[in-house]
Structure formats: structure tokens, C-alpha cells
């Protein structure tokens, strides 16, 4: 079985973490800001660490937030889709 591959952060996107665990992405090409909630910050950081399995990201989220594994996995999926659409991450 091959490992699922995940998109990687676009090097033209700057991540800034805020004190409350949320974050902001600034796309340096378009100059759009994107706010990340705390779970999306975990997704971004996992991508930056080159985590290749969305299940691992979902597990990180369930260990930190009161959310079941299935919901977390769905959220990770949808965050990744949105990030791809906005050019914040690049396809694997």
C-alpha cells in the first residue's frame, strides 16, 4: 500500500501563529490574508512538517479538541480542499 500523499505549503505563503492558537496566512503573490482556526493551524503545521497521512493530522486534532475521529478527518479533508483552491498549498 502506498502512503497517501498530502499537498505541501506554498512557499509564497507566510504563516503567522497568534497567541490564542489561531493563525493567519498571507499569500505573498495575491496579498490576501486567510484566517486559520486552531484546528486549521494544526493542519498547516502538519503539512509544514511533511506529514504525509491525513489520518495522523486527524489524530492530532482529536487529541487536542473534543471531536470524534470521523469529524476531524472530514474537517481535515475540507481544509485541505479549500487551501488547494486558494493556492495556499500545492498539490503533492
Amino acid at each position: 500500500m502506498t502512503e497517501p500523499r498530502l499537498p505541501r505549503p506554498n512557499p509564497q505563503v507566510l504563516f503567522t501563529e497568534l497567541d490564542d492558537g489561531t493563525g493567519v496566512l498571507l499569500h505573498l503573490d495575491t496579498k490576501f490574508y486567510f484566517t486559520l482556526n486552531a484546528a486549521a493551524v494544526i493542519v498547516w503545521k502538519s503539512l509544514a512538517e511533511s506529514i504525509a497521512d491525513p489520518g495522523v493530522i486527524a489524530a492530532r486534532i482529536t487529541s487536542l479538541f473534543r471531536v470524534d475521529r470521523e469529524t476531524a478527518a472530514r474537517d481535515v479533508d475540507s481544509v485541505l480542499r479549500e487551501m488547494l483552491e486558494d493556492g495556499l498549498v500545492l498539490p503533492a
Binding site: 507566510l14 503567522t16 497568534l18 497567541d19 493567519v24 498571507l26 505573498l28 496579498k31 490574508y33
Partner: protein, 351 residues
């Protein structure tokens, strides 16, 4: 006419080594004393009822007693703005978080950005600096702090005026400011030089940009003036500048810049002289400067560079200034010890 703001040149320390910098990285860095700042704040409040303070440098966030400076500003009931390269922005945010009154009185963060893209900016200011500024911009936006982007124009970035303005507007800046490069007195002047007509072109482009954008676009003192007899903000005493040695001097553009002979733009040491007396002496310097300009106009004819007030001023004070041939006046003894562009490398300086 009123003394609207006081600028404190807080420190000569800086982590960067910009090509257009006027400070001398070969010197042991100095910091403006907190005692002098407190004295000047008290005197300015009492004498003029001044409200605004500007913190500049060097990199002002590197002042070892920045927290005390901010508290003095609060205590003396001033508002403030800061000019920064953004590299220590998170530390500055920490000071604002720890002291809400400091934050309430902050009117703007002026971030130095010398290009509309990473390659141009980092080529002038050093690798990683563009992203530092972008991070600071993001933090300002996230925390609701008004920020200005300010660019020093020269031959290496003048093509980016419009892109810079657009970028500032897109990022949500409160203002974009584009200023004219002052002669550094170093070998960099050769590569950064623009002739008078190129500066006038740049000025027209900035004016057009200002008309096209809803965000204010400003040009600090220095650009071409049709009327040679022009009285700047500093010469109207609308702003007073305290240099890093704690002396009242003519303006920030003069501070730290080498001159032939003893500097004539310094009024007095504010640690030992009252602000009132120092201001009186400064008016003497201003009067002498304006009289000298009138005399030069009467003698005539004046050249194209004499229509640029700061250039005329620097020349008058025997400081580095632009001429038709490039840079004139004394050279600055500040060979850069870092950076690939340094022609000569002197001993490293511990900062």
C-alpha cells in the same frame, strides 16, 4: 505653527545593513538615555503641549530600555509612533500586550519596506527581511494596529513605485510613504544615484499614484520644489529631533551623517541644557540657514539640485549631497563588514 511632535533617535543599533543606511555600523552603538527622554518629554509637554512622539533609529526596538521609554510616553500623556524594520515585532507586541496604555497611545507602526517584492527588498536590506516585514504587517492586521509602509527610493527600486503603492493598499496599510534617498557618503551612492530629472519623474508618478489610490500616499521632505525658498517642517519647528547623543539637532536626516568640520546642525546637549534654551539656539541655526539660502538665490544662478531642499541643506552643512557628477561632500567611514556588496571588509563589529 506649533511643535507637533518630537522625534527621538533611540539607538544606533540595528540587525540589518541596508545599502542606503546613514548610520555608521563601524562605531560602537549608542543608545539615547532614558533620563534625557524623560526630561525632554516633561519639558515639551509643559512648554508646547506637544502630543506626539516618534521613535526612530537604528532599530528602535533594540533600545535596551524600550519598555521604560514607552512608560515615559504614557506617563507624560503622549501618543507615539515607531519606525521599525519589523524584525523584532513580536517583542514589541509583547510590550503592548503587557501595557494596554502603551497600546492605546500607539498611533502607527511605520514599517520600512524597500521593494514590492522579496528579491528587490532583500537585495537592498538583506535576506529574510521582506518576510519579517510581511509578518509584522500580518500581526498589525490581526491585532488591529494601524501600519504605514515606507520606502526609500533610489535607482535600485524606483521602478517599483506603483507596485509598492498597490501592495500597501492591498495589505491594508493606513498610508504609503515614499521618500527620496539621501546621499550616504559611501561607495553605495554610485549604484543608488538618480539624476534630478529622474527624481522629478518619480515624483510625478507618486502624485499620480496618490490620485489613483484611496489610501493616502505621502512624500516626506526632500523632493523637487519649484520655489527654492521653501521652509520645511523641521525649520518651522513643527518637529524637533533629539539625536542618539541626546542633542537637539536640525532634523533626522542630519543625525549621524558625517560633516566637514564640527557639525553645525546641533543646537545643544539636552541632558545639560533646557529644551527652551536649546530650541532658541536651534532657531539661530535655522535663521542662518535660511539667510544663506536667500543669499545663494541672490547670487544665483542655482542648479537643478538646489531645487531639492534637503540636498541644498546637506550641502550647506558640508555633508554628503548629490551633484550632477554623483555624490559630493565628505565620505562616511562606514565600510560594511557584512554583505556581499561590501567592497572592503573591516574588522567585525560586535552588536
Amino acid at each position: 505653527m506649533a511643535v507637533n511632535w518630537i522625534a527621538f533617535h533611540l539607538t544606533d543599533r540595528c540587525q540589518l545593513d541596508c545599502q542606503h543606511c546613514l548610520r555608521d555600523p563601524g562605531q560602537k552603538p549608542k543608545d539615547l538615555s532614558l533620563a534625557t527622554i524623560r526630561k525632554v518629554l516633561a519639558e515639551a509637554k509643559r512648554l508646547y503641549r506637544t502630543r506626539q512622539v516618534a521613535l526612530t533609529g537604528g532599530e528602535p526596538t533594540l533600545h535596551p530600555e524600550l519598555e521604560g521609554v514607552l512608560d515615559a510616553i504614557v506617563e507624560h500623556d503622549f501618543t507615539w509612533h515607531i519606525v521599525t524594520n519589523g524584525r523584532r515585532f513580536e517583542q514589541l507586541l509583547g510590550l503592548l500586550r503587557d501595557g494596554p496604555a502603551r497600546r492605546e497611545r500607539l498611533t502607527a507602526v511605520n514599517l520600512s519596506l524597500d521593494g514590492a517584492d522579496e528579491t528587490t527588498h532583500d537585495g537592498i536590506r538583506g535576506k529574510g527581511s521582506f518576510r519579517d516585514v510581511m509578518k509584522a504587517v500580518t500581526l498589525c492586521t490581526a491585532h488591529g494596529l494601524p501600519f504605514t509602509l515606507q520606502m526609500v527610493l533610489h535607482a535600485r527600486n524606483v521602478h517599483q513605485i506603483e507596485a509598492f503603492g498597490l501592495m500597501a493598499a492591498q495589505l491594508g496599510a493606513a498610508r504609503a510613504s515614499l521618500s527620496m534617498l539621501q546621499t550616504t557618503g559611501t561607495h553605495h551612492d554610485e549604484a543608488l544615484y538618480l539624476p534630478p530629472h529622474a527624481w522629478q519623474d518619480a515624483q510625478h508618478r507618486i502624485e499620480r499614484l496618490s490620485a489613483a489610490l484611496t489610501m493616502p500616499v505621502t512624500m516626506p521632505e526632500g523632493f523637487y520644489r519649484e520655489q527654492i525658498f521653501h521652509v520645511c517642517e523641521a525649520m518651522k519647528s513643527e518637529s524637533l529631533h533629539v539625536d542618539v547623543e541626546g542633542r537637539l539637532n536640525l532634523c533626522c536626516q542630519h543625525a549621524g551623517v558625517p560633516s566637514e568640520g564640527p557639525p553645525r546642525d546641533v543646537a545643544a546637549d539636552l541632558a545639560t541644557t533646557s529644551l527652551l534654551e536649546a530650541h532658541g539656539r536651534l532657531l539661530g541655526i535655522i535663521h542662518e540657514t535660511q539667510a544663506a539660502k536667500l543669499a545663494a538665490m541672490a547670487r544665483g544662478p542655482l542648479g537643478a539640485w538646489d531645487h531639492f531642499p534637503c540636498n541644498w541643506c546637506m550641502k550647506h552643512f558640508d555633508k554628503p549631497h548629490w551633484t550632477d557628477e554623483g555624490a559630493g561632500g565628505p565620505s562616511a567611514q562606514r565600510e560594511r563588514w557584512r554583505g556581499a556588496w561590501a567592497k572592503k571588509v573591516t574588522l567585525p563589529v560586535v552588536r
